[in-house]
Symmetry: C2
Subunit: 426 residues, 2 copies
Amino acid sequence: MARIVMKFGGTSMAGTERIRRVANIVRKQQARGHEVAVVVSAMAGETDRLVNFCREANPLYDPAEYDVVVASGEQVTSGLLALTLQSLGCQARSWLGWQMPVRTIEAHAKARIEDIEAEALIAAMAAGEIAVIPGFQGVSDAGRITTLGRGGSDTSAVAVAAAIRADRCDIYTDVDGVYTTDPRIVAKAHKLKAVTYEEMLELASVGAKVLQTRSVGLAMKEGVRVQVLSSFVGDDAIPADDIPGTLIVSEDEMNALVEKGDMERQHVTGIAHDKNEAKIILTRVPDRPGSVAHIFEPLAKASINVDMIIQNVGRDKGETDVTFTVPQSDLARAQALLEDRREDIGFNRLISDSKIAKISVVGVGMKSHAGVASTMFQSLADRGINIQAITTSEIKVSVLIDEDETELAVRVLHTAYGLDASDEVA
Amino acid sequence: MARIVMKFGGTSMAGTERIRRVANIVRKQQARGHEVAVVVSAMAGETDRLVNFCREANPLYDPAEYDVVVASGEQVTSGLLALTLQSLGCQARSWLGWQMPVRTIEAHAKARIEDIEAEALIAAMAAGEIAVIPGFQGVSDAGRITTLGRGGSDTSAVAVAAAIRADRCDIYTDVDGVYTTDPRIVAKAHKLKAVTYEEMLELASVGAKVLQTRSVGLAMKEGVRVQVLSSFVGDDAIPADDIPGTLIVSEDEMNALVEKGDMERQHVTGIAHDKNEAKIILTRVPDRPGSVAHIFEPLAKASINVDMIIQNVGRDKGETDVTFTVPQSDLARAQALLEDRREDIGFNRLISDSKIAKISVVGVGMKSHAGVASTMFQSLADRGINIQAITTSEIKVSVLIDEDETELAVRVLHTAYGLDASDEVA
């Protein structure tokens, strides 16, 4: 017997027919003898509808009242799932954010969970009742409804799993797991049996949007074992205990899986790509203390998220070129801010390029294995792909390339690191 | 300065444009220096949508989870009205049922308000904040959401008015007040300036569905002055302090209004009709103790609401005919129950007729004025309208007639009691 949190997104909850499918999956999981809590999103489209109401009512909306309105979407689906589970003969009840309670900080519309009181929930689950919990919502110390920001239901699920000390948090999505790379680009991409939290964070931050990044960070901090799996499976193909999706676990558990022979040790776990960044080059910036701070301080103040930063050696003494990336959606704003400060910064030209892609190879294996980066550079060079910038972390190497070469680069690297599925597997 | 509760129904809250109209009315009321609390219904159609979801999820739905789902409709409109009021420069916040809290009995989907903690609300209103309260919802001692049953928002408004000791509870509806009779039948019907609680209860119970009956009973018990008025007035024609709708007040206040010359004393306040009843006659029932109990006990057990009961003197000694009315929708069930007990009751024939109408004249004035009933009988007889049964209460005389004669009877009585509007008024 295990204690399991199951989380279903808005597509799975869109309408009473789909909720019935979800209820069947939940019921079968409980029938295996597990204690089950379910965290649900609002019906697909419902949160958008409610957000639009708020915008129409008041473009500068008070986030406290916005939370009252938008939290209703998950309230509805949690009640409906409890009703549907009851119609299948299960005991079930909904636990709203203020009822458990799920205590959050005061920051409405972008709250952070501080604490979940789970004793009553644990007791009800032990008595055979399925707990149905609306994701995304909590309650402030002032007793008002808070929400966690868009996509917060993954975080709710992980937080509930931590609070009830669940054996696993299963996140049902519209993909059936985490892949070595985007299967739409590489036909031979294969589903990973497991990745570490760190790998998942790196993969998520570079475009593999399977899970909300914040939920992975929380799972890592709380040591919650997460599984990503598909809710679009036939009724008979519901998750067996042998983990049909991808487990997201600690490095220790990953090592144990490898030692048991359940996993092969890879140097690189996956290849990610991200086309949503834009590159800015400032040329001939004075090479003196403080000049780089002049560049990034205004961007930080404007909440523009700078990702890669490369300071090239300048051709002329005392000067340097600075290259960095920002989200494409912030490019125009960043350019305007920098032009305003041209004199303070002292750059010569501002060159921007939004036709770039960031390609990353990610893997905890590279911590203990040299040569991962050079394999990347050599493989790309062999195919004539020019690298515009490079950054590295302990478990990731990222390069900027021309956007048009994205698919080619991903395919080349997928093969180079031995990730292509064998014919038997594919 | 007064403290006023304003209640708006689903038609007034249907969409952000209409909510903006409501917000303007509320803002102008506050601008007069009043402290204002607003009680709102869900958007028109929304409660039906949510109830249908519940039925689809589970035809035998758990009323506790049903309440979680359906209470969300008023949660949304209360948040949206608060946001809209803020956009007009008002201070406003929503107070959900569990936040004030509005404590109810445990009976989900048909709860009754036991107590409202209003101290925080009163303090916020005194500080200039408009309180926006979702109608229809409360919270049980177990900390779960309850709802008051369909149409419960009128009751919520009156209960809030009692709790905050409001000077008046204004109920905005799609009619502009209470009329002497149905204006669709009598063109010369006119709006009443005031009626007593008792009159309103009698008028409501015989078909004048302006207010939910339960809310009038609560207003009477708590001494809450209620005003019925229209929300479909131009922005400039919003309620002035001189009461544009119909006041519903105690008999004492009514007497004071008459003495001040604000109202004329009438013997009859209004004429109501109800076509939703059906008549059952049981002939030759043994005239012995207990025989009538045999008739009505099974109907009561089946929750069939018996209204008029008339025991006619039988033609034969030791036998009597019993006539009574039930809602048309319960007629078939009532007939089946009575046929099942034919031997116990000992009746000869069961005659039913659903083509009947109940016509009632209502007025506190008749307490102190003889002849109201005989005027009714004579006026109807003069026009050849046959009276099938009669019941009376302290402030009401009701007769059963043929349904086809409803409109004629109402017009005749409206004239007979001097209720036709004069040309100047009309």
